[in-house]
């Protein structure tokens, strides 16, 4: 079964069995191993990607269902010249430890800031509630997201 998607601005396609999840297709057929397999049933959030503007657990979405969609993965956040402000702030604050939850966490945070550029701490906690982290206790992650939001807003105010 041929599935065609636009990933991080590039058209990609793969021929996969019908029971293939979007996560499996991204990781194994498209070489995009940023999204992780942590539980395969949508509990941990390490597989989070953005599909047509909505953050989803890619382990729960069939690849076929994503056909024709615009997908953003962690590999699409930075560009050739600079990190995404979220990536910059996560690094600055030491927000990631083992890093396994990182791609999913960053995608969920991006999804939040794209819709709500000035979230409260509670709104950040709520947006990240589907992304489990065992290492960090979430504190520095939340600080980094708030800081990235500030940076993104100050960047825009000059435009």
């Amino acid at each position: 079964m041929l599935v065609e998607i636009n990933v991080n601005g590039e058209p990609r396609s793969a021929d996969v069995p019908p029971e293939t999840t979007l996560l499996k297709m991204l990781r194994e057929d498209m070489g995009l191993t940023g999204a992780k397999l942590g539980c395969d049933v949508g509990d941990c959030g390490t597989c989070t990607v953005i599909v047509d503007g909505v953050s989803v657990n890619s382990c729960l979405m069939m690849a076929a269902r994503a056909n024709g969609s615009k997908v953003t993965t962690i590999e699409g956040l930075a560009n050739a010249n600079e990190l995404h402000p979220l990536q910059e702030k996560f690094e600055e604050h030491g927000a990631l430890q083992c890093g396994f939850c990182g791609p999913g966490m960053l995608i969920s945070a991006k999804s939040l800031l794209d819709k709500n550029p000035e979230p409260t701490v509670f709104e950040v906690r709520d947006a990240l509630a589907g992304n489990l982290c065992r290492c960090t206790g979430y504190t520095k992650i939340i600080e980094a997201v708030m800081d990235a939001g500030r940076e993104m807003r100050s960047g825009q105010s000059g435009a």
């Binding site: 991080n8 930075a78 050739a80 990190l83």
Partner: protein, 465 residues
């Protein structure tokens, strides 16, 4: 011929001249395209400063994590790599009567199977080697692996597991650690379920309890919990033509892991290479070999690299968990709240195999009296086998359990005597050169500083309910 050479040279000279021309524009990568290579970015400032100690230096791996560039084991693939899955026991305690893999071996994509009796030395363990790599002939808990299958895809390996026929003879089982202590309980290994014990004795605890103004007694219990590293256990095994095996593994200790592999595979250590890549969380659960010998043998049989990643279910039932503790605390104090005596009994639910119980019972016993100056101490600790998930190393090795007990009791004492909880701890707490429960002179002690500073930050004295 000469003309051709002249043309090429002329073309080359033209290109070289062009390249040096100041008007040549460098190629720019469009900013809306994804990047697959490290960006040319400045390092965090703290990384560039001297002196290095005390700097809030950013982590180089932190940047890679944020880019999604970190290669965990499941992100690594090799040409012709196979996937392995493990069939686990159906019973908490049973004898394996027969294993029939013939149907499984005929399934599409299956290239190798493995059972415990094929493993050269089928035992491992950090203290004593009571745990099998693949259980044979006895299974001791439902998470025990029995048969391993390697196939071209993960789905094929999972499908093949369903075709494996294992015949079991169920044996009597024991789940409750208090029951496991009894002489007439079903036995998990050998003649007794008590597989390790520890005693700490100082002074005369019975005499001191009799002389105490107040005696407090309580039993505390803690539960089974799991590390839940976000990255499940993962390994890949691959051989080369010289009979050398390389294992990429999420193991937290590779030097000793190599020793374990040399032992289980009956091979020299120099023929084994362990590569510990970035681990997605350990917390104690990845400090022992799990699938590595299995993958090495499957890989040898199939002549191809073999990868195995635990499912989340495997993580819970097959990897180690924290020891549940049953703790009896009897403490004698004088009227001023000074602890005169403490008697403690710890029973550790040791699961089906020893794993890191030796360390847990040792640390648990030493730490159990708490960071307090107590002249008369008796700690008696026992670890028992039960037919449940193996209990092993988990962040704290018994400390969180005993701290729950000794600090809860401290507040009970404070409450009964009408003493402020901060005050009673300062009265009894260690200082520089205090003696520990094992009569060690303690140095670099910062207990009271942590108490007073925490209380100040919290606003303990100003607290209004």
């Amino acid at each position: 011929m000469a003309t051709r050479t002249k043309d090429i040279r002329a073309d080359t000279e033209e290109l070289v001249t062009e390249a040096k021309a100041p008007s040549r524009q460098p190629l720019t990568v469009p900013t809306d395209k994804p990047v697959a290579y490290p960006l040319d970015l400045p390092e965090g400032e703290a990384r560039l400063r001297t002196p290095a100690v005390g700097q809030r230096a950013s982590r180089p791996d932190g940047r890679l994590h944020g880019l999604g560039q970190t290669q965990y084991i499941d992100d690594i693939t090799f040409p012709h790599m196979l996937h392995a899955k493990i069939l686990r026991s159906e019973y908490p305690h049973a004898r394996i009567l027969s294993i029939d893999t013939s149907e499984a071996e005929k399934m599409p994509g299956v290239l190798a199977t493995l059972t415990g009796d094929e493993i050269p030395e089928n035992s491992f363990g950090p203290t004593f080697q009571d745990q099998p790599v693949l259980a044979y002939p006895i299974v001791r808990h439902r998470g025990d692996g029995v048969v391993a299958v390697a196939a071209v895809t993960e789905q094929q390996a999972t499908d093949a597991l369903e075709k494996i026929k294992v015949e079991y003879e169920p044996l009597p089982h024991v789940f409750d650690p208090m029951e496991a202590l009894e002489d007439d309980s079903p036995k998990v290994h050998g003649e007794t379920n008590i597989y390790t014990s520890k005693t700490i004795k100082k002074g005369d605890v019975e005499k001191a309890l009799k002389e105490s103004d107040h005696v407090f007694h309580r039993q505390f219990r803690t539960q089974m919990v799991e590390h839940v590293p976000l990255e499940p256990h993962a390994s890949i095994a691959s051989w080369d033509g010289n009979g050398r095996v390389t294992l990429w593994t999420s193991l937290g200790r590779i030097t000793l892991g190599r020793e374990d592999l040399a032992r289980t595979l009956a091979m020299p250590q120099s023929k084994i290479r362990l590569i510990g890549t970035v681990v997605g969380g350990n917390f104690g659960g990845k400090n022992e070999i799990t699938n590595e010998p299995i993958l090495a043998l499957l890989s040898k049989k199939a002549g191809r690299p073999v990868k195995s990643v635990f499912t989340r279910g495997d993580e819970f039932i097959s990897s180690t968990i924290r020891h549940p503790f049953t703790m009896d605390y009897t403490t004698g104090v004088d009227n001023s709240g000074k602890i005169l005596a403490r008697k403690i009994r710890l029973v550790l639910d040791g699961g089906a195999y020893c794993s890191w119980t030796g360390t847990t019972i040792g640390k648990g016993s030493i730490l159990a009296p708490g960071p307090y100056n107590i002249d008369n101490i008796l700690v008696e600790a026992y670890a028992v086998y039960t037919n449940k998930t193996t209990t092993g190393a988990m962040r704290g090795f018994g400390a969180p359990q005993v701290c729950f007990a000794y600090e809860s009791q401290m507040d009970d004492i404070a409450d009964a005597l009408g003493i402020d909880p901060l005050e009673i701890r300062l009265r009894n707490g260690f200082s520089e050169n205090s003696l520990s429960p094992t009569s060690q002179t303690l140095q670099s002690v910062a207990l009271k500083e942590s108490l007073t500073q925490a209380a100040e930050r919290f606003g303990w004295k100003e607290w209004q309910e």
